[in-house]
């Protein structure tokens, strides 16, 4: 109602439409009012009463309506509690969980009805007189400023902060050293990965096996247009005397995140990149499944166009052309794994990838 505690005289009272800024008798320095404002003050229109203000029957009706909203809300909340116990968890209604549906509808409507009731109350029954609040400056008064300054100076004097140099020095030192742990904790970002980003578990002689089932692959099992999502055999082979494969748990996941590959087959004539074809076996080519852009697994293989698409940012690689980028944000070809055959005729790797798999990193361009 009032503009500021220290200047009650400047406030305008509610409904007092005559007391407007341009007509104020004592404008003080913090309410700048120009008599010659270019825009004429429109003033306030005359107060229009609502039906509930002038008609007692309407007022009663509004009160009953709002009470009804609150009462229904209470019933819905009780309904929520009943539904929680009464509806079995596996019941299905309209293709969704009947329990969740009932809980959501009852509690949501209960809250909504309280809100609608409160707004109706405010709009139809509470006083609705117009009021004017003056703008005022936000700075403190000169007395307040002087008082605060004096208090600060007195405190500085009494503590002897300026005089006791040893106390001041040790306090500032202790506060300064507090910043050190924030720097030391960065050591947790290490240790440095060393050569790990450049290496995968692929090595000469590691079998290429089907993902999930771990079955080794022979060239005659792979048809034209085929896609095999494959893994290195070391994830599945159990060495003699061991109970588990060499890789397990987090170590397995970390190794798998770099070593996953896709194996595709096309007609040798369709491969346009000769050196890429040489790395395959009879048109069977093996590429990293990890996108060299940001490391998503890429296995959207369009066997007709020979394009491998990354679902994250639509980087598209032409596997008939050495994994060349034909579209999207990737900046380098998807790495290819050189394939060979072992004595039993199964597909094996002839070594690790020639370049790092996965997202590029600054150091890989240093050598």
């Amino acid at each position: 109602m009032t503009t500021h505690g220290s200047h009650p005289a400047d406030g305008s009272s509610a409904g007092d439409s005559a007391n407007l800024p341009a007509e104020q008798a004592h404008p003080d320095e913090r309410v700048e009012v120009h008599a010659g404002d270019p825009v004429a003050n429109p003033g306030l229109g005359s107060h229009q009463p609502r039906p509930t203000d002038v008609d007692p029957a309407a007022e009663k009706r509004a009160e009953r309506q709002i009470s009804l909203l609150f009462a229904i809300s209470a019933l819905l909340t009780l309904g929520f509690c009943v539904a929680y116990f009464a509806i079995p968890r596996d019941a299905v209604l309209f293709g969704t969980s009947a329990l969740n549906l009932a809980l959501g509808v009852t509690l949501g409507l209960a809250l909504l009805l309280i809100g609608i009731g409160a707004i109706q109350w405010a709009k139809t029954l509470m006083d609705d007189h117009e009021m004017v609040e003056m703008r005022h400056g936000s700075g403190s008064s000169d007395e307040d400023k002087a008082e605060a300054l004096a208090a600060f100076e007195q405190g500085a004097e009494e503590s002897g902060f300026g005089r006791r140099s040893m106390l001041r020095g040790t306090l500032l030192t202790s506060l300064g050293v507090l910043g050190l742990p924030a720097v030391v904790l960065f050591a947790d970002l290490g240790p440095l990965p060393g050569n790990a980003p450049r290496r995968t578990v692929w090595a000469k002689g590691v079998r290429v096996v089907n993902d999930v089932t771990g079955e080794p692959l022979r060239p005659d099992e792979i048809q034209l247009g085929q896609l095999v999502n494959a893994q290195p055999g070391v994830f599945y082979e159990i060495a003699e005397g061991e109970e588990h494969p060499a890789y397990e748990g987090t170590e397995l996941l970390n190794a798998k995140a770099k070593a996953s590959v896709v194996v595709v087959r096309m007609l040798p004539d369709e491969i346009v990149n000769a050196s890429s074809a040489d790395k395959g076996v009879d048109g069977i080519l093996c590429y990293s499944k990890i996108c060299p852009h940001l490391g998503c697994p890429i296995s959207l293989w369009e066997q007709q166009t020979k394009n491998l698409i990354c679902p994250c940012h639509q980087s598209t690689f032409n596997l008939a052309d050495g994994g060349r980028v034909v579209f999207g944000p990737a900046r380098r070809a998807v790495p290819q794994l050189e394939l060979g055959l072992d004595d039993e005729g199964y597909l094996i790797a002839l070594g690790d990838f020639a370049e790092p798999v996965g997202p590029s990193f600054p150091e890989m361009y240093q050598d």
Binding site: P49, R50, D55, N100, Q314
Partner: protein, 277 residues
């Protein structure tokens, strides 16, 4: 006839009958042999093949060529690809799901109401399998019969699905976009036999998943896990076709919160004033 019967004791009659018998037997063999020589191809019946030939020449040969060789366009590309070696499974999939005949030449043939009925599809599959070289046969129920499937099978099928299928068809099997206007269709409502045929033959953009790498049992487990996922009720509320959290979140923020804001504005604005003082 009387003339014929009077000559039945003619010295050459026996030779004639022998010749006639050889011609009939040879002709029958020639008609039936291409089918029966491939035990894994469906439709060895000569009548079926003949009916299929009739249907093929009428409905398919304008694009795929009278001998299934495909028809090349002058500017490269083709009206219809070669059907040499596609086998009965490809025909049953393409025609049985309504993808063929295509309604129009576009990036991809969509699934639609089949144009040919089951008997006609079978005849065409028999014809293509018999005449256009050996190819995969229509897979049997061991690929999609879900009787006796255990929870372990479903779990294994789910892992195989996530490794091999989910990249294109989405984790819940509702499909997704590929490049150049092509897309992986939804797997909602796909019959088991068509599911198996798609994996074996690799239709359109889809790669082949051979039986040697993913065994019929693996394929059945994938199918079982897919059915399991699709039978799950959407416990999180209406799922907008399981498009995933990004799409659902967008709908929640824009449509849901938008509606609430609109309602709040409306209820705040609406006001009645009495005309009398």
């Amino acid at each position: 006839m009387r003339q014929l019967s009077t000559h039945r004791r003619h010295p050459l009659a026996g030779v004639l009958v022998l010749l006639l018998g050889l011609v009939v037997a040879g002709g029958l063999y020639a008609a039936a042999a291409p089918g029966s020589a491939r035990a894994d191809s469906a439709g060895t019946d000569a009548d079926l093949v003949a009916e299929g030939r009739e249907l093929y020449l009428t409905g398919c040969s304008s694009c795929h060529g009278q001998n299934g060789q495909g028809i090349l366009q002058r500017e490269g590309g083709q009206y219809g690809p070669s059907l040499i070696g596609v086998g009965a499974a490809a025909v049953d999939f393409q025609v049985g799901t309504g993808r063929m005949p295509m309604a129009q030449n576009s990036q991809q043939a969509p699934r639609k109401e089949p144009f040919y009925d089951a008997a006609e599809t079978e005849a065409m599959a028999a014809f293509v399998a018999a005449e256009f070289g050996p190819g995969p046969a229509i897979p049997g129920p061991e690929y999609y019969d879900l009787a006796g499937v255990s929870d372990e099978d479903i779990t294994e099928g789910r892992e195989l699905y996530l490794a091999n299928c989910s990249a294109c068809h989405n984790a819940a099997g509702i499909g997704g976009a590929l490049g150049g206007g092509r897309y992986a269709p939804t797997l909602e409502g796909v019959e088991g036999v068509h599911f198996a045929e798609a994996m074996i033959t690799g239709p359109q953009s889809m790669p082949v998943f051979s039986d040697e790498v993913l065994t019929p049992e693996d394929k059945r487990n994938i199918y079982a896990s897919l059915r399991e996922i699709q039978a799950e009720p959407a416990s999180g509320g209406f799922d907008l076709g399981r498009v995933g959290p990004v799409g659902e979140g967008l709908a929640g923020w824009v449509a849901g919160i938008g509606a609430l804001v609109g309602f709040a504005v409306w209820i705040g604005k609406h006001s009645v004033r009495a005309s009398k003082q």
